[in-house]
């Protein structure tokens, strides 16, 4: 029986592209209110795992569920409980102005927190009148993050959301996530290369290496296994050796 507390469950999930194994027998459970950091080298399978969770690709074997539902055929109401920030922002219509794009995305949802959106746009110094295609990569990423927050989702899935952000924007973003987690108990899956950000935000981490999860558990437990002087980046390098 599915535990009500479990938001994401991957059960022996495998996926390969053209005979190249990307995920192999992955097991992972993320409970409600958890902030889970997903780390791994380029090509480790982080994005594939996220796409599998969203039903954007079909698994070779195993089962992925989100809120207890098979991710390949998520019901509409479950999809609206998820806020997804993709690695690339090509999926938005570049000809729209930022304010129109956000209104357009808002129209998909039954609940759309306009005040929160306006506040974030202002705080993050996003020009609402600029056309999306004219923004820098970092600004586009900010818009994507804001757009994912408007419908107050219960689960956030971020695929390397801070890669193009400057340090100030990264800090603001992380602060926002912590606030969201504390205020509404949102669950977050956060894939990134920037391990220092994970140290600020994530309680749990999962390390993907050689198509498998090499470590999953709390960040503090992981750190305890290594010297006190080592930060997460050093541990990450050590684990990937």
């Amino acid at each position: 029986m599915e535990n009500n507390d479990v938001v994401i469950r991957l059960d022996k999930v495998s996926k390969s592209y053209r005979n190249k194994q990307v995920l192999k027998d992955i097991d992972l459970t993320i409970r409600k209110g958890t902030i889970m950091g997903l780390i791994g080298k380029n090509g480790a399978g982080k994005t594939t795992m996220i796409k599998a969770l969203l039903g954007l690709l079909k698994l070779d074997s195993g089962k992925a569920t989100v809120f207890g539902e098979d991710s390949w055929d998520l019901p509409g109401e479950v999809k609206h409980r998820i806020g997804y920030v993709p690695q690339k922002t090509d999926m938005f219509s570049g000809w729209m102005r930022v304010k129109d794009l956000l209104d357009y995305i808002g129209a998909f949802y039954n609940i759309w927190n306009k005040d929160k959106i306006s506040k974030l746009v202002k705080e993050w110094s996003i020009d609402p009148d600029a056309r999306f295609r004219d923004l820098s990569e970092g600004e586009k990423q900010k818009v994507a993050i804001v757009a994912a927050m408007g419908h107050d989702p219960e689960l956030y899935i971020f695929d390397e959301p801070v890669a193009s952000l400057d340090p100030i924007a990264r800090r603001t973003f992380i602060k926002e996530l912590i606030d969201l987690n504390l205020d509404s108990g949102s669950t977050m899956l956060f894939s990134t290369h920037i391990t220092s950000d994970l140290e600020r935000i994530a309680a749990d981490v999962a390390l993907l290496k050689d198509n498998e999860i090499k470590y999953k558990g709390s960040l503090s437990d992981l750190k305890e296994q290594y010297s006190e002087k080592m930060n997460l980046e050093d541990i990450f390098i050590e684990l990937n050796k």
């Binding site: 592209y17 039903g55 079909k58 998520l74 997804y84 999926m91 219509s93 357009y104």
Partner: protein
Amino acid sequence: MKEYIKIFRFNYRTMPLGMLIYLTIVIFTILMKVFDSEAYILFGKVDSVFVLVFVNLFGIACILNYIILILCLKLSLNTPIFHSVPEIRNKIMNYSLLHLSFYFAWFVFIAGGLKELKLISFLVFLNLCILSLIVTAFFFDSVSVYRSRKYIIVKILFHIFGLIGIFALPAIQDKYPRSATLFYAGFAAVIIYQAVSFRRNYINFNLKESSENGFENTIRSIEKYFESMPEKSLRKRITHSEKSSDKYRELFEITIFGVYHPLIYLQYPWIAAIVFGLIIDHEGMIPFLSVIPLIAGSYLSLTIGNKDKITFLYTTSGLSRKEFVNKVLKTVLRKFLIAFLPLLPFMILYTIIYNKFTGVMEYHVPVILFVFILAAWLFLTWIVWMAVLQFADFDKLKSINSESLFSRMRFRK
């Protein structure tokens, strides 16, 4: 010389398939000179599949020529490898001129076998008008002089003269050879003026100026008006979708098809006129129909290129997979049906006018042809979108697309 090779390599890397134009030119030249010195195949009657393929390949080579030209003039300046090359604008301009001269020399060489001066004159005028139109369109925003009243008048005059050259001159040049020669001289002078002006503006980097007064200001206001129209329409449609019982259809349409200015509907009389003209001229219909597979191929590539947009719609919509697939299919088919239907009254109107003044055409001919084209297009759309949506793996489809020939034709970033 090294720089010119660099520019060639840039063009090749940006559009590998486009560079096949040079190979096509060589093959065509050999074939035409060995087997068809009078250019009968190319400009004669289309009476076999071989001729059909030949004519279409020739047309594609001509179009690619202009794409490469614009690619070279417009995109190469944005490439970091050229930033440090001294006098790069001069060199790009020389390379483009060389490419264009080569193309025109080849074109006249091939068409020269015709010994049909009227047709050669028609084709050369047509090419010049297309070239002028393409260059103006691509540089209108960046070259300030194109926005001046003087230059716009020159351009309008050029195209009026060009149209006379295309349609009227071949008919009158036997009767009035002196006037025809004068016309050619005048037209050549306008071409030289345009070429020199373009070269000066391009090399001297006379790009967009800040002066916002007079005629330029008027043009800018008109541009702004046209730019703001889709935005107003978008906001109206968003508001409307919120109250609509079929909000996802309305929202999907915006992402898949965009929002267009209502003036786009002015093209219907023209499209209907072209189709009607092709019905009257059965021979013209054959090469037209043979282009359909090419259009279908590009359409397929464009649709698959929409994968990111489909991903966005899938993750954002509150629909299950099955509901989503059905909704997208219904949206796309409905949109095409609505887009095609206005052609029918125009085609019937043209038939009435045609029957009144010249020939006799039965009314069921354009109607049947219209229904046939519409049905074929809807079927193609259904197949393509089903392939896009039902494909088991979004990423797999994307990786196939990235290796397809059509996507290799696209500009790489």
